[in-house]
C-alpha cells in the first residue's frame, strides 16, 4: 500500500481530517474527498488555471499543489463565494451581468483569481485586470466580458466603499 499521511485541512472555514497518499493533489482532495467539485481540473500542469483556489488569500493552482503541502493554510474555493442562502456575491453577479461565462468550466478559476486579486489591488486599471486575467485560459468568451465583469465589480466595490 502507498504511504498514507494524516492531515488536517482548513477549507472554506471548515476543518477536515484526512488520510491521504502524499501524491494526492489538492484539486483531487477538494473535488473527490471533500465533494467540493466547483474547483475544476483543465490541464493538470498548471497552465489553464481552471483549478485556481486561494491559499492564504493568494491564487494558486490546486492541480500543482499536493494536499499535504497546505496543512495549516486557509484554503478557499468557489463554494465560499455565495452567501449562506446560496445568493451570488457581487463578483459572481458581475460575471452573469456581463456574460463572462459560457460553458462555465473555467469560471471558478477566474472567479477565485479575481477574488484574490481584487483583495490585494482594489483599484486596478483595465489593462492591469487584463494582465491578471491572462493567468488563466478560457475557450468560450474571448476574455473581453471576463475583464468587463471584474472591472465593473471592482468599480462597484469602490463606489460602495466611498458611499458607505
Amino acid at each position: 500500500m502507498p504511504d498514507i499521511q494524516l492531515i488536517e485541512l482548513n477549507v472554506n472555514g471548515e476543518s477536515h481530517d484526512l488520510a491521504i497518499p502524499p501524491r494526492r493533489t489538492l484539486a483531487d482532495v477538494l473535488r473527490h474527498d471533500l465533494g467540493l467539485t466547483g474547483t475544476h481540473v483543465g490541464c493538470e500542469h498548471g497552465i489553464c488555471g481552471a483549478c485556481t483556489v486561494l491559499i492564504d488569500g493568494a491564487p494558486a493552482r490546486a492541480c500543482l499543489t499536493f494536499a499535504v503541502q497546505v496543512e495549516g493554510a486557509e484554503i478557499r474555493t468557489v463554494e465560499s463565494l455565495a452567501g449562506p442562502d446560496g445568493a451570488m456575491n457581487d463578483l459572481q453577479q458581475a460575471f452573469t451581468d456581463h456574460h463572462g461565462l459560457q460553458c462555465g468550466f473555467c469560471t471558478p478559476g477566474f472567479l477565485m483569481l479575481a477574488e484574490g486579486y481584487l483583495a490585494e489591488e482594489p483599484e486596478p486599471t483595465r489593462e492591469e485586470i487584463r494582465e491578471v486575467v491572462a493567468s488563466n485560459i478560457c475557450r468560450c468568451t474571448g476574455y473581453h466580458t471576463i475583464v468587463d465583469a471584474i472591472e465593473h465589480c471592482a468599480r462597484k466595490r469602490r463606489a460602495d466603499c466611498a458611499s458607505g
Binding site: M88, E131, S135, I137, C140, H144
Partner: protein, 799 residues
C-alpha cells in the same frame, strides 16, 4: 418579469435575458462529468501507442494486473466490439469506406491510439497500471505529410483507401469554365495551408458508465454534443438494443466539434462497465486530449481565379486537400472537411463558373473531427486572399473589388448550386469600414508609418450556412441526414411547461434562449419554461448541437411544439367555455379568454386541472393530459448568417509578434434571440479564429510524434493576445425560420483568420512579403521586417 429585460416588442425574444445556466455554474454547483460518481466506481485509463505507425506484435497486460489496485485490463480481443464505420452514399471512387476499431487490433496508425483499457480502484492506480503494459511493435514507415501520403510508393494506412485517399470528389465543373480561364483578363492564384488545431474544450472528454439492473440499461453519462448518436453507437458496438443504452449529458465544458464524434474511449469505457457490471469512469487528461483526441483544420488549397479588368470574379478552380489523419471519424466521416470546403467555397461572392476537386487523405496523425467553422475559415481565407491579390495586381481598391463581387440581390443561386437567403453582405462591409474610419484607425495607421511603426488593416467578408438542411445533405450524400429535430412539451397543473430538445447546449445558453422562444409562444413568464436536454430516455430522438444548427432547427422544433400546445389549450378552453375554438385566444397572462368577452377566461392551471383530473369534461378525442409535439426540418438550402470583420494589427520588428490593436465585427444573424448571447458567441468564435491565425498548431516530428503534448507547446491565446472586440448588429430576419433567427455558433471563427491574415499582409505591404498560410509564423514576420519596412516611413528612425 424583470424590468429592462424584455425585447423591444414586449417579447422575450430579442432581450438579453440573464442566463438560466449562470447561478449554478458560478457557485460551483454545476455538475460536469468528472463531478459525477457512482457506488463502487472504478477508474479507467488507456494504454496508448508509442508508435505513429506499426503492426502490433503483442500486447502483454499480465504485469498490469499485478499492480495493486488494478481490477481489469482489456484489449480489443477481450472486449470484441464492432468497429465504427462512417459511410457516405457516394460511389466507391469518391468515398472509400474504412473502419475505426474501438481499440486498435493488429495495427496502430497514430501515436496515442488506444490499445487497451486499464481499470483500477482509483485514477492514480490506473496510471500506475499503464506503466506495466508491454506492447511490442513492428514499425511501419510513418506518413506525416500530404506529400508523403500521396507519393506513388507510399505505404497505405488502410488497404481500403488506395493512394491514402479517403475522399476524392470533383464537383460543379460549370460548363465552359476552361474557356473562361483562357479568355480572362487576369488569372490570380493562391496556394495556402492551414495548420492542424485542437478545438480545445476546457473540459476534456470523459464518461461514467454503469449497468443498471432495474432499468436493464447501460447508463452512459458522458460529455458529448451528440447524445443519441452515442447511444446508437454504444448499442451497435456492444450488441445491445438501443433501449438498453441511456445516454445522459451533464453540464459540459465546451465541445467546439471535438465532442461531435463518438469517442473510442467512450465506447470502450462503457463496454468495460458492461463487462465488469461495475461503474467505470474515464476522464481524459490534457496530454491525451492534445495528442490523441480529435483534431482538425489541416488543409491545403490551390486556387486559380479568373478576373476581368474591373475586378469582377469570373471563375474559380480549386484543389483542396484535407489531412484527416489516421481514421475516418464516426459519424461525420473523413468527408466532413472536403465536402464542406467544396460546397461552401464561394461564400458571399457571385461566382459565374466554379470547379472544385476536394480530397481527404490519410496520415499517421490523430484523426479529424468537425472543428468550429469546418473548412469555412479556410474557404474565406482563399476568397479574401484572392480579392486582395486581384486588387493589388489590377491596381484597384480591395474593398471596391469586394463590393463589385458581393451578392446583393436575394435569393441568389450561385454556381455551387446553393440558393442564398437574404443577408446584408454589402451593408456589413460598409459599416465595418465606416466604423474603423470613424474610430480613426486609418489616420493612426498613416501616423504610425510616418514614425516607423508597422500597422495594417484587414477585412474579411463571409456568410455561413447555418442549420444544414436536407438539401445540403442530399448534395453531400451522407447516410444519415441530420437536418431535423423533434420536441415534446407538457404542461403541468401549475401552468408550467417542460419542453424537450434534441440539441445539446454546452455553453451556447439554450436553457435560456429556447425558453425565450417558448415563453413568447405561450405568453408565459420565462421561469415557467424549463428546457429538457441531454437525456436519451427523455428525448425521443435528436442530433445534438453542431454546425450552428440549434437555434434554427432545435429552436424551430420547440416553437412548433409550443404552438401545438397553444392549439390544445384553445381547443380545451373553447370546449369548457362553450364557444368555437376560433373565438378564443391566449390572453398574454397565462390564460385563454373569449376574444369578444375577455372576462370569460380560464387560466392554464384551470385547463390543466381539467385535463389531468377531470377527464369526463374533456372534448371527444382530447388528451387526457396537456401535451403536444412539434418538429422542424429545414427544407430550403439553409439560412445564411453573415458578417464582415475588420482588424487593425501592429507588427513588432523586434520579435515578429503580431499585436491586434482593434477588432470590429459587424454581424447579421437575423433575429438575435438574446443579443448578449449572440455577442458572446461572436467574441468567443473570433478568439478561436485568432488562435488559429497566429498561435495554435499541432505539429509532428518526422517519425509522427506529436510535438505539442502540453500547453507549454500548444500556445492557447490568453487575454493578453485577444483584444476587446466591438460588435455591431445588423438584422435581416430569415423568412425560413420560426423565429427569424439564423445560426450564430461558428461565424466568429470563420471570419477571423482571413481578416488577421489580410491585416498582417497590409502591414507588410511595402516589404513585398505576403502570407497565405496560418498560423502566421512569427519568425517569418520577423524576417520580413528584419531590414525595416521599405515604405515611406522607412527613413524615419523608430524612436
Amino acid at each position: 418579469m424583470k424590468e429592462g429585460r424584455i425585447g423591444a416588442n414586449g417579447t422575450w425574444v430579442g432581450a438579453s435575458v440573464p442566463r438560466r445556466e449562470d447561478p449554478r455554474l458560478l457557485t460551483g454547483r454545476g455538475r460536469y462529468v468528472d463531478d459525477l460518481t457512482a457506488q463502487g466506481m472504478l477508474h479507467a485509463q488507456f494504454v496508448r501507442s508509442n508508435e505513429a505507425h506499426a503492426r502490433i506484435v503483442s500486447v502483454d497486460l499480465s504485469e498490469v494486473l499485478n499492480v495493486p489496485g488494478v481490477v481489469a485490463a482489456f484489449t480489443a480481443d477481450d472486449l470484441n466490439l464492432r468497429d465504427m464505420v462512417g459511410v457516405m452514399e457516394r460511389p466507391e471512387h469518391e468515398f472509400r469506406v474504412t473502419a475505426m476499431p474501438v481499440l486498435a487490433r493488429d495495427r496502430v496508425r497514430f501515436a496515442g491510439e488506444p490499445i487497451a483499457i486499464v481499470i483500477a480502484t482509483d485514477p492514480y492506480t490506473a496510471e500506475d497500471g499503464l506503466e506495466a503494459a508491454v506492447v511490442t511493435y513492428e514499425p511501419l514507415p510513418p506518413v506525416v505529410s500530404e506529400e508523403a501520403a500521396l507519393a506513388p510508393d507510399a505505404v497505405l494506412l488502410h488497404d481500403e483507401a488506395p493512394d491514402n485517399t479517403y475522399v476524392d470528389v470533383t464537383m460543379f465543373a460549370t460548363e465552359g469554365i476552361d474557356a473562361v480561364f483562357d479568355d480572362a483578363h487576369r488569372v490570380i492564384g493562391v496556394d495556402l495551408r492551414s495548420g492542424r488545431q485542437n478545438a480545445l474544450p476546457m473540459e476534456t472528454r470523459g464518461v461514467v458508465a454503469e449497468w443498471i439492473d432495474r432499468d436493464e440499461q447501460l447508463l452512459v453519462r458522458t460529455c458529448t454534443q451528440i447524445p443519441h448518436t452515442i447511444r446508437d453507437t454504444v448499442a451497435a458496438c456492444a450488441g445491445l438494443d438501443e433501449r438498453q443504452v441511456r445516454v445522459i449529458v451533464p453540464d459540459m465544458g465546451g465541445g467546439f466539434g471535438q465532442k461531435s464524434c463518438v469517442g473510442r474511449e467512450e465506447v470502450a469505457a462503457a463496454a468495460a462497465a458492461l463487462r465488469l457490471r461495475r461503474p467505470v469512469k474515464w476522464i481524459e487528461d490534457r496530454r491525451d486530449n492534445l495528442t490523441a483526441s480529435f483534431l482538425g483544420r489541416e488543409q491545403h488549397y490551390r486556387a486559380r481565379a479568373a478576373f476581368d479588368a474591373e475586378g469582377h470574379l469570373l471563375a474559380l478552380d480549386t484543389d483542396v486537400i484535407c489531412d484527416m489523419g489516421a481514421y475516418s471519424a464516426y459519424p461525420s466521416t473523413a468527408a466532413i472537411e472536403p465536402m464542406m470546403a467544396a460546397v461552401e467555397m464561394p461564400g458571399v461572392y457571385k461566382l459565374p463558373a466554379y470547379r472544385v476537386r476536394a480530397r481527404a487523405i490519410a496520415t499517421n496523425k490523430a484523426p479529424t473531427a468537425a472543428y468550429r467553422g469546418v473548412s469555412r475559415p479556410q474557404c474565406v481565407m482563399v476568397m479574401e486572399r484572392l480579392m486582395e491579390r486581384a486588387a493589388r495586381e489590377l491596381g484597384l481598391d480591395a474593398l471596391d473589388v469586394r463590393r463589385r463581387n458581393l451578392i446583393t440581390t436575394f435569393p441568389y443561386k450561385n454556381s455551387n448550386n446553393i440558393t442564398y437567403d437574404p443577408g446584408s453582405y454589402l451593408e456589413s462591409l460598409n459599416l465595418c469600414e465606416q466604423t474603423l474610419r470613424e474610430e480613426g484607425w486609418y489616420e493612426r495607421k498613416a501616423e504610425a508609418a510616418a514614425s516607423g511603426r508597422v500597422m495594417g488593416i484587414g477585412y474579411a467578408c463571409y456568410s455561413e450556412r447555418t442549420a444544414l438542411a436536407s438539401t445540403a445533405f442530399s448534395e453531400r450524400k451522407p447516410r444519415a441526414l441530420v437536418s431535423f429535430d423533434m420536441s415534446d412539451i407538457t404542461m403541468d397543473m401549475t401552468g408550467s411547461v417542460r419542453v424537450t430538445t434534441g440539441t445539446l447546449s454546452h455553453g451556447q445558453s439554450h436553457e435560456t434562449t429556447m425558453a425565450q422562444i417558448v415563453a413568447d409562444r405561450l405568453s408565459l413568464p420565462i421561469d415557467k419554461v424549463k428546457i429538457v436536454q441531454g437525456d436519451t430516455d427523455k428525448i425521443t430522438y435528436g442530433f445534438g448541437s453542431f454546425a450552428s444548427r440549434s437555434i434554427v432547427i432545435g429552436g424551430g422544433a420547440v416553437a412548433a411544439a409550443a404552438v401545438a400546445l397553444t392549439d390544445q389549450l384553445r381547443i380545451l378552453a373553447a370546449h369548457l367555455l362553450e364557444v368555437d375554438t376560433d373565438a378564443v385566444e391566449l390572453d398574454g397572462e397565462g390564460g385563454v379568454r373569449v376574444r369578444d368577452e375577455p372576462e370569460r377566461r380560464l387560466s392554464y392551471g384551470d385547463l390543466a386541472f381539467v385535463a389531468y383530473l377531470q377527464s369526463p369534461r374533456l372534448p371527444k378525442g382530447f388528451g387526457p393530459g396537456l401535451r403536444a409535439s412539434g418538429s422542424y426540418d429545414m427544407l430550403a438550402d439553409g439560412v445564411f448568417s453573415n458578417a464582415t470583420h475588420g482588424v487593425v494589427v501592429e507588427l513588432d520588428p523586434g520579435t515578429g509578434g503580431v499585436r491586434i490593436l482593434r477588432y470590429v465585427c459587424v454581424e447579421d444573424v437575423g433575429v438575435a434571440i438574446n443579443p448578449q448571447v449572440v455577442e458572446g458567441q461572436c467574441r468567443g468564435g473570433i478568439a478561436q479564429g485568432i488562435a488559429g491565425a497566429l498561435f495554435e498548431e499541432v505539429r509532428y516530428d518526422p517519425s509522427g510524434q506529436p510535438l505539442a503534448p502540453s500547453f507549454m507547446e500548444y500556445k492557447v491565446p490568453t487575454a493578453m493576445e485577444i483584444p476587446d472586440i466591438r460588435i455591431e448588429h445588423l438584422e435581416t430576419p430569415s423568412a425560413l425560420t420560426e423565429s427569424g433567427a439564423k445560426g450564430a455558433g461558428e461565424g466568429g471563427t470563420i471570419g477571423a483568420p482571413a481578416a488577421v491574415l489580410n491585416a498582417v499582409n497590409d502591414a507588410l505591404r511595402d516589404t513585398g512579403v505576403e502570407f497565405d498560410d496560418t498560423p502566421i509564423s512569427r519568425e517569418l514576420v520577423y524576417r520580413a521586417l528584419e531590414n525595416g519596412p521599405v515604405g515611406p516611413g522607412a527613413a524615419t528612425p523608430a524612436h
